[in-house]
Amino acid sequence: MDEAETSLKRSPLVVTDPLITNYVSDIACAVFHAYCGDLRVYVIRNPNFNAALAPNGLMLVNTGLIVRMASSDQLAAVLGHELAHYTQTHSLELLRKAKRNLTVGTLVSALGLPGALAKLGVLNFNRQQESEADELGAYYMVAAGYWPGAASEVWRMLEDEERNALVKRSRGAWFLSTHPRPESRAQTLDAVVQRLADRPALARSAKAGLKREGVGMTEADPLIDVVQKRYAILMDEQLQQGDAGRLLTLLERHEAMGIRLSDVLFYRGEAYRIRDGSGDVERAMAAYRQATDFDEVNPGAYRELGYLEYKHGDRQQAQGYFESFLAEEPDAPDRQMIEFYLQGGW
């Protein structure tokens, strides 16, 4: 596994952007506290919701997890859960079990390190281990000053996304593969929070302004800053997955979190455009137009409006939008194609 970590360090998918890596590492270290020294955190470009912690302290956090979080408390909840598996040696037990069946090297070479960790770290924990990790994870969060109620929010958020998804995850998907249903886990976690309610540490975290209501959050939460500043990278990964149902659910959450509305509207337009159902072109165009009403406009909104107007025969409108796009984005990599449209087109 150490060799695999050396290889992982060279992977082009490991995020090196300090804005993201420092943010995730800081939260992980706060939650892991005494175990912080054991930890090496790698953020991986992967659109799926997942995090995993190997028995040797190597932690992988997907970008698809970060973009789904509504608060730092929620990220702390996921990391606290993983820490609990680590301290209770659940991961080690899994590794030993895997070793009995096949070598770790085989597992790693077959699935890649992230895949192997996902298998070791999450998929195969049993019901008792998951329950232990849920409860202990909440204690770790409280000790670190985070609001433990965020853990049940995560499960409800995942269930909400799954309900609205156009393509449902297979039963192997991690949050569905563990025995209790997400809503049941959320209720169990709510009960844990009730038991923790009188704890001085929770009172301290509430006083510190960290307690959240629903998915609403304070402006001070650094998660918003991270997601906002890297919004295009994080959301383009989600857009590529082509599931407008998931995307629209995510965008609703981002709007509630206070992500810049012009960005949310641009991606909402993209979601309607790729869904391409009855009335979706009109919905997409309305969203793009709204996005262009703001001072900080995503230039892509002009380009997409240009394409849609062109497709529907309004060459004059299309030309105006394409010109606006090039004015905002003179070095666009697809400038040649846009100029081609301006000169007559397809």
Binding site: S11, P47, N48, A110, Y307, D334, W346
Partner: protein, 197 residues
């Protein structure tokens, strides 16, 4: 990408790869209702056992082996069709629609490669631009695929539409060596498209 690598590796272990590649002779070769030209005898056609993701009329050409370089020829995809064969009963690929604009076709290529390679490979496309081939208007777009523990792949896709059917050629190779080594030969095949297959 990982799915493809594992498929190739598994088939290699099964001994399927040793004698079923066929040399593509220099000259014209059918590409739906068009032809493409192989300028030399450096191209090899992968056997169908190695390309379960390709429909019958599609082909995978390679010079140094499909793990290092590949030129995928996708001829005549009809309205409502897909670029690749889904591994399960439920379709995982985005659908091609006649009337798609170049930006939509580029997105279709990118999204199809995303599904083909799975979530552990990041696919990006860049530099969409117009391209004339066989007297028709087509498009070119540059591609990049990055996985965790495998070499990055780079390449280029060329596509055009004839009578509502999509034709595409997708070149991808391990970067930098193989991607650069075979780019010229791949571009030559892309530019050799002629009607009358």
């Amino acid at each position: 990408m990982r799915r493809l690598v594992l498929t190739f590796a598994w088939l290699l272990l099964q001994g399927c790869m040793s004698n079923q590649f066929s040399i593509i002779q220099p000259g014209h070769h059918a590409f739906g209702s068009f032809t493409v030209q192989a300028a030399d005898a450096g191209w090899n056609r992968a056997p169908q056992q190695l390309t379960p993701h390709l429909y019958g009329g599609s082909q995978l050409w390679t010079r140094d082996g499909p793990l290092l370089d590949s030129l995928t020829l996708l001829p005549g995809i009809p309205d409502g069709g897909y670029l690749f064969v889904s591994p399960s009963k439920s379709n995982i690929y985005p659908v091609y629609r006649a009337g798609m604009l170049p930006n939509e076709i580029a997105e279709l290529l990118e999204s199809s490669l995303v599904r083909l390679n799975g979530p552990e490979v990041v696919v990006s496309s860049c530099g969409l631009r117009p391209h004339r081939v066989a007297g028709m208007q087509g498009l070119l777009v540059d591609l990049q695929l990055s996985g965790n523990d495998e070499p990055s792949r780079r390449g280029r896709a060329m596509a055009f539409v004839q009578d509502g059917e999509l034709y595409a050629l997708i070149y991808l190779a391990a970067w930098p060596h193989y991607a650069e080594k075979h780019l010229e030969a791949s571009i030559a095949v892309m530019n050799s498209v002629e009607s009358g297959g």
